[in-house]
């Protein structure tokens, strides 16, 4: 039942906030109460009981939530990231902070649904519902060119979702599964004929690639971030909403292994392109948020490399990176909002030398930035490392190419810091304030936690990575054989030896 509360608490608080009217004190109080309560609840998710109830019985649709595996990790990190995000939104949004906070809470609820749902239709519903608050955030609180950005965002999202919906509607009747529950689908869909699987998979893959996002379906992302409210809060929510990788991992690949086998290589190449393309484009940006958007795109490419590489290490790493980048990318966007508050500009060329007047802000920014570009010991690194290592085991060339993005990450990373904080200071600024510090503390704590003790989360993710099954159509459906175990074959014994000196 806790999984249900994790979804309902933010919805209730959003509703109360809507009724109470959106004044700043109310937004702050209800927003903080909701995010803190939800965060505490997510701590008790692992091991708590799931939930399954009939929803639309005639079509075999159920409302099933299962607090296990990768979904738990992602829900937890999203809940942690939401605390400072709501805080900054309540503090910074000039007109209607209550509405902004309410929308953020609705997004949080929708995301928890995406991560915890174990019924494909329920998953789709959460996936789509979350689009509405994110679109409203952009359309209501965005900057001058928000209309165009909203339009583009909708075209991409709805276009992708439409194809995804067709696949979802077709998958149960075609496979003859008992219901849309994951377990029922898994018993039937891997036996679908290859051609059917490919078409179903392509439908899902297009919708999920838009949300990953994967090159060349990423264009909405750049404008989305550039045009969102300068506090950065909506960008953070958007960062949490990069659920495409999770969709592949939790649904498309385990259900349609043959489809993945045939289409996967194309996706892997696109993921490598995304990783390099995003990093290269980021290095040429002078607009803070566009830089972050492209860099984040590059990270999503690495997530894709980990997932489409189909090695257990890469699958674990990719989901871990999704969780870690919530904290690091989130913190970067919040810092961009703090800088905007000081200078009213995202143009990096208008900054410089701020370390002189705001040394603590500089130090915290650098810490987050190093996390962001994958410096080991911090949160992003275990995810990046395992994603690339996993992909390398089967596809050394493509993985090596994706690894080159590490260099470009160094370039955009130090560029970012140098243009903001180093050099001659033309105009002093004020040091990081108490609330800003308080906002960054949970993220920094999370970054250290994930960076130093990643194994705790990796173990949880792995419960689900192992579900990705072998693409064999002739076999009896159960029990599912871990794909990696079969693919690795010869490597299995070698893997056993890791850490074998003990």
């Amino acid at each position: 039942m806790i999984s249900l509360f994790v979804i309902l608490v933010p919805v209730v608080f959003a509703a109360v906030l809507g009724l109470a009217g959106g004044r700043r004190p109310a937004a702050l109080a209800f927003g903080m109460a909701s995010t803190l309560i939800t965060f505490v609840l997510t701590w008790f998710l692992p091991g708590s009981a799931g939930l399954s109830a009939p929803w639309i019985p005639g079509f075999g649709v159920t409302f099933t939530l299962e607090p296990t595996g990768a979904g738990v990790v992602l829900t937890l990190m999203a809940a942690l990231t939401m605390i400072p995000t709501v805080l900054m939104a309540a503090r910074r949004v000039e007109r209607g902070p209550g509405a902004c906070v309410a929308l953020l809470l609705l997004m949080q609820a929708g995301l928890a649904g995406v991560f915890l749902a174990r019924d494909l239709v329920a998953f789709y519903v959460f996936w789509e519902i979350t689009l509405i608050p994110s679109m409203l955030l952009l359309g209501t609180f965005g900057r001058e060119k928000r209309r165009a950005a909203v339009l583009k965002y909708l075209v991409y999202a709805i276009g992708g979702s439409f194809l995804m919906l067709i696949s979802i509607l077709a998958i149960k009747p075609l496979s003859g599964a008992a219901s849309y529950r994951f377990a029922d689908l898994l018993a039937a869909t891997p036996n679908l004929p290859g051609a059917t699987q490919v078409w179903l998979f392509v439908g899902l893959a297009i919708g999920m690639s838009v949300k990953l996002p994967l090159w060349p379906l990423h264009s909405w992302l750049i404008d989305f971030n550039e045009q969102n409210h300068p506090s950065g809060a909506a960008d953070v929510a958007g960062t949490l909403y990069k659920v495409g990788g999770f969709g592949f991992f939790a649904w498309a690949i385990p259900l349609l292994p043959v489809g993945m086998e045939r289409v996967g290589p194309v996706l892997l190449v696109l993921a490598v392109v995304t990783a390099l393309y995003g990093a290269l484009a980021a290095a040429a940006q002078t607009h803070m948020k566009r830089l972050l958007a492209y860099a984040s795109l590059s990270h999503m490419g690495i997530v894709g490399v980990g997932i489409f590489g189909l090695h257990l290490a890469g699958l674990n790493g990719a989901i871990f990176l999704l969780a870690a980048q919530m904290l690091s990318t989130g913190a970067m966007f919040l810092i961009s909002g703090m800088l905007f508050e000081r200078r009213h500009s995202f143009d990096l060329d208008r900054y410089g030398g701020l370390a002189a007047s705001a040394p603590a802000l500089a130090a915290l920014s650098l810490f987050v930035l190093f996390t962001f570009i994958g410096v080991p010991g911090l949160a992003n690194f275990p995810g990046e490392f395992l994603s690339l290592l996993g992909a390398y085991q089967h596809h050394p060339w493509l993985a090596a190419a994706a690894t080159l993005s590490v260099i470009a990450a160094g370039v955009y990373g130090v560029n970012f810091y140098q243009r903001l904080y180093q050099g001659e200071q033309h105009e002093a600024t004020h040091e990081i304030g108490a609330i800003e510090t308080f906002a960054l503390i949970p993220l920094i704590a999370g970054i250290l936690w994930l960076g130093l003790v990643p194994a705790t989360q990796l173990n949880k993710i792995q419960q689900q990575s192992q579900l990705i099954t072998t693409p064999t159509t002739a076999q009896a459906p159960a029990p599912p054989v871990p794909l990696t175990a079969a693919v690795d074959g010869a490597n299995a014994t070698a893997v056993e030896a890791l850490g074998g000196s003990r």
Binding site: L386, I407, T484
Partner: protein, 640 residues
């Protein structure tokens, strides 16, 4: 005794604690408190390292300390842990010992700087990361230290961040090092694929059972070498080190001379068992080292900045170490790390003392005769100069000779031109003596070219700076006696290190031949010094003044043009590619189908993006370089 050894695990934590104290409370502390706290943290680490050193006397094996689970994937379980054995303890002693002296010296050097506590926080953090690097029992943990020292190096090079040149230098170092890091990452991926583990001891244990000279082992060796060339400033990634002199001088002494730049040497020595099975990779290592040694020495001749000369000298000397470990003489490489740590740290600190006395002047054309005003600085600098030149009975003489004889006798280099390597390194030894004589003479001897204004303020540095000079000078003179030529004398350091490193066969020459070779190298050094004496003392520099406009001199000044070449090859094209991608995204991908009409306009814009190239992405398409390496490796059938 193992408990005593295990306690050494606390050394990085002490340094980290020192760093955090200065980071959080430094602004409330009055000088010299930040420096004292930082020095105490390093001193504690040194004591622990010394205890571990005695604890390991009895046993050949090291002590394993395991902390917690780091990575899991299937049956992959990787724990974070330290391996404290004779090799890592030797490095720990150097890092904390020389590090402590440099910390103390810094109290004087950084006196009055408004970033005093930030400086010591970053310096302590560096010590912590460097200790993690050498103590790590697995490649990922070593990589945490590896990038950690890179981050600290970046921070300290750009320490005086207001002057744009300094952050630019820091950025260059960081990015070039990231190119090397790609090599390290690929090496780990391939290591895991072949060995199924990332534990260093497990890899070393499994390597001898693999196919000798196999393509995969060679490729693993080359990938790790790429990592080493980045951190250790070897060809083709040496370009960042001269720029790194933008940092405060004690930083140059600690990070860019004594410790961090030797990380590549340590890495190769640590996984010697892999290189011992991959002669192709080992020979590449040795040749990279020897060529770098030569190029560095050549470039050192025409420099005029007191620190840049030493920077090229460091590149050259680390080249010697890399050549030694390439030859499979792992203890020899570490021996030179040790002696070099003393004499090169000392050279930098005397340079710092000079810069301090002259109020920031670094141009040797405005120095000269300073030994008369700064007796202690001058005399210790002379000892260090003689030591690095390889003058008999000082430390550099013993370690350099051990390197020379190892390249000549290594079975790993059989058929890969070990003789040629020997000759190249021998010639370089003569060049070293000559350019170091030039350095010393132009700074400390001869007539004074110091500004009148600066001359009035000339003074010897305070005791907090001169004491470390004295101690380092004693080390620079004596530490070589740990490694006397093994054919005639007891060699302590070889006996100490050999149980912790892989074994490679070396030919044994007749003792008379060995003596002859030593005699030969003494003659070469004597010629080097003699030439320097004749040019600078007897002819007052006239012969080189005549050469000033020649191609040779400008090649040396420009360090063979690597920087200029990379600026054209990588920076400009990298910026072009990066700008091109950004333009492509804005103009085509973004507009989707609607934008196809503007494709013609795009071509024009792409062309401008390629041509314009404003200073942004240093060494970008070193991407291309790495790709080329991979392609070449594949074409030669190395990759299955």
């Amino acid at each position: 005794m193992t408990h005593v050894v295990a306690w050494a695990s606390l050394a990085p934590l002490l340094a980290l604690a020192g760093s955090l104290i200065n980071a959080f409370f430094g602004r409330n502390l009055k000088e010299p408190a930040p420096g004292i706290i930082a020095s105490l943290a390093v001193a504690g680490g040194f004591v622990l390292a010394v205890l571990a050193f005695f604890g390991l006397q009895g046993s050949d094996a090291g002590t394993q300390v395991t902390f917690w689970r780091y990575l899991t994937a299937g049956s992959l379980h990787l724990d974070l842990g330290f391996m404290i054995d004779r090799l890592s303890v030797t490095m720990m002693l150097i890092i904390t010992g020389v590090g402590l002296l440099i910390h103390i010296y810094s109290i004087g050097y950084m006196h009055g700087d408004d970033g005093n506590s930030r400086y010591f926080a970053e310096l302590n953090l560096f010590i912590a990361a460097m200790l993690v690097l050498v103590m790590a029992d697995s490649f990922p943990l070593m990589f945490i230290g590896w990038e950690g020292v890179g981050v600290c190096s970046y921070l300290l090079i750009s320490f005086w961040y207001r002057d744009r040149a300094n952050p630019d230098a820091g950025r260059k170092a960081f990015i070039v090092n990231r190119v090397g890091d790609v090599g390290f990452l690929l090496a780990m991926f391939l290591t895991f694929k072949e060995f199924g583990t990332l534990n260093i001891a497990a890899v070393n244990a499994a390597a001898p059972g693999m196919l000798y000279g196999s393509g995969v082992l060679t490729l693993i060796g080359l990938f790790y070498l790429l990592g080493a060339t980045g951190k250790s400033a070897q060809l083709p990634l040496q370009v960042w080190l001269p720029d790194a002199m933008a940092g405060p001088t004690p930083v140059s002494a600690l990070i860019h001379a004594a410790t961090m730049v030797t990380a590549g040497v340590y890495l190769i020595a640590r996984i010697g068992a892999v290189y011992a099975m991959a002669p192709g990779a080992a020979a590449t290592v040795a040749w990279i080292g020897a060529l770098t040694a030569f190029v560095g020495a050549f470039a050192a001749f025409a420099q005029t900045d007191i620190k840049k000369i030493l920077a090229y000298s460091t590149i050259s000397q680390v080249g010697y170490m890399i050549a030694a470990v390439g030859a499979g003489a792992y203890w020899v490489g570490i021996f030179h790390v040790l002696t070099h740590a003393f004499f090169k740290a000392l050279l930098f600190l005397t340079a710092g003392s000079v810069i301090h006395a002259l109020g920031g002047e670094q141009d040797t054309r405005k120095m000269g005769g300073l030994g008369r005003h700064m007796k202690l600085t001058g005399n210790t600098a002379l000892i260090a100069t003689l030591a690095i030149s390889g003058v008999p009975f000082l430390s550099g003489f013993f370690s350099k000779d051990a390197i020379l004889s190892s390249t000549l006798n290594s079975s790993l280099l059989a058929g890969s031109g070990g003789d040629a390597l020997y000759i190249l390194l021998l010639i370089t030894a003569g060049m070293t003596a000559a350019y170091m004589f030039r350095w010393y003479y132009r700074v400390f001897a001869g007539e004074s070219r110091v500004d009148k204004h600066a001359a009035e303020h000339l003074h010897e540095s305070p005791p907090v700076m001169t004491w470390p000079l004295g101690i380092l000078a004693i080390g620079a003179a004596l530490v070589g006696y740990l490694g006397l030529p093994e054919f005639a004398f007891p060699n302590l350091i070889q006996r100490w290190l050999e149980p912790a490193t892989a074994t490679v066969d070396f030919n044994h020459l007749a003792a008379s031949t060995d003596w002859l070779l030593i005699g030969l190298s003494i003659v070469v050094v004597a010629i080097g010094i003699g030439v320097g004496w004749w040019i600078y003392h007897v002819r007052k520099g006239a012969p080189v003044a005549a050469l000033k406009e020649s191609n040779l001199a400008s090649a040396s000044r420009g360090a063979l043009g690597f920087d200029a070449l990379y600026r054209i090859l990588f920076v400009a094209s990298g910026e072009g590619v990066s700008g091109g991608v950004a333009t492509l995204d804005r103009e085509v991908v973004d507009r989707g189908l609607a934008g196809t009409g503007s494709a013609v306009g795009l071509l024009g814009r792409l062309a401008t993006a390629v041509q314009s190239g404003f200073a942004r992405a240093y060494a970008f398409a070193m991407l291309l370089g790495v790709l080329t390496l991979v392609v070449v490796a594949a074409l030669t059938g190395v990759l299955r």
